[in-house]
Symmetry: C2
Subunit: 142 residues, 2 copies
């Protein structure tokens, strides 16, 4: 059900500076900067061989992401995301296990794909995102 990691997400205070830091120090190249107004966030991705790193900068401080940044001014790990075939089906299966997903049933990621979240209390203290078939999920070439 949750057997494929899509990405690890990091909140940063300055997206351009974060991308520049990863490029300069680690040779990691971030893609174009996308804006998800619904989620209130600017986003870019570093594509690895087998998953992605998501960098997120909140558009406003009075949002959950903005408050995360207030608690972690330098940035930090925010959530992990699994790729699933159907967010609706996995959500229903989880509901049967007593795990409620959170967020709007029509929520979409920056690529327009359905997403939902599992509250940290339900997953060992970790915020978990479910993404429906991320179209550009890298496949491991090895």
């Amino acid at each position: 059900m949750l057997d494929r990691l899509s990405h690890v997400s990091i909140v940063v205070p300055d997206l351009e500076a974060a991308a520049e830091r990863l490029a300069h120090a680690y040779g990691m190249v971030a893609g174009e900067i996308l804006v998800n107004h619904e989620q209130g966030v600017r986003i870019t991705y570093v594509t690895l061989a087998n998953a992605k790193i998501e960098l997120m900068q909140p558009l406003a401080m009075e949002t959950p992401l903005g408050r995360f940044l207030q608690r972690n001014p330098g940035g930090g790990l925010h959530h992990i995301s699994f790729a699933v075939d159907s967010v609706a089906e996995v959500s229903a299966t989880l509901e049967n296990s007593g795990v409620k997903t959170i967020g709007s049933a029509t929520a979409k990621n920056v690529h327009g794909e359905p997403i939902t979240f599992i509250h940290p209390k339900e997953f060992l203290g970790v915020l978990v995102e479910l993404e429906e078939k991320p179209s550009d999920l890298p496949h491991d070439p090895n």
Copy 2:
């Protein structure tokens, strides 16, 4: 250089309870529990299609992991780990970029493979582990 995610690591207060929770609610099966006395931690892994989830329970509270647990009693995301061909070579390359790795030069993970860490201040607020060729790193079958 850092293009392959090995695992995402979660600190938990009770390893058996965490494994049971993942199995019951999500159908995720954790492997055997291993003990890394050098790192002061009990560990188990959930193997996904393209990476692993590491669950860690500190052996003592007066350790960095124990203090993390004191700050996050329910557990939480602790670090991400990249698989690299040579920890020594990557460490030297990073040093040339002005990024110091931390920890003993002879540190090993629970599988006996060389590891090192990059301080969160060097990587967008995220603690990063480098692991040398994890022998059981799953390959994406797709």
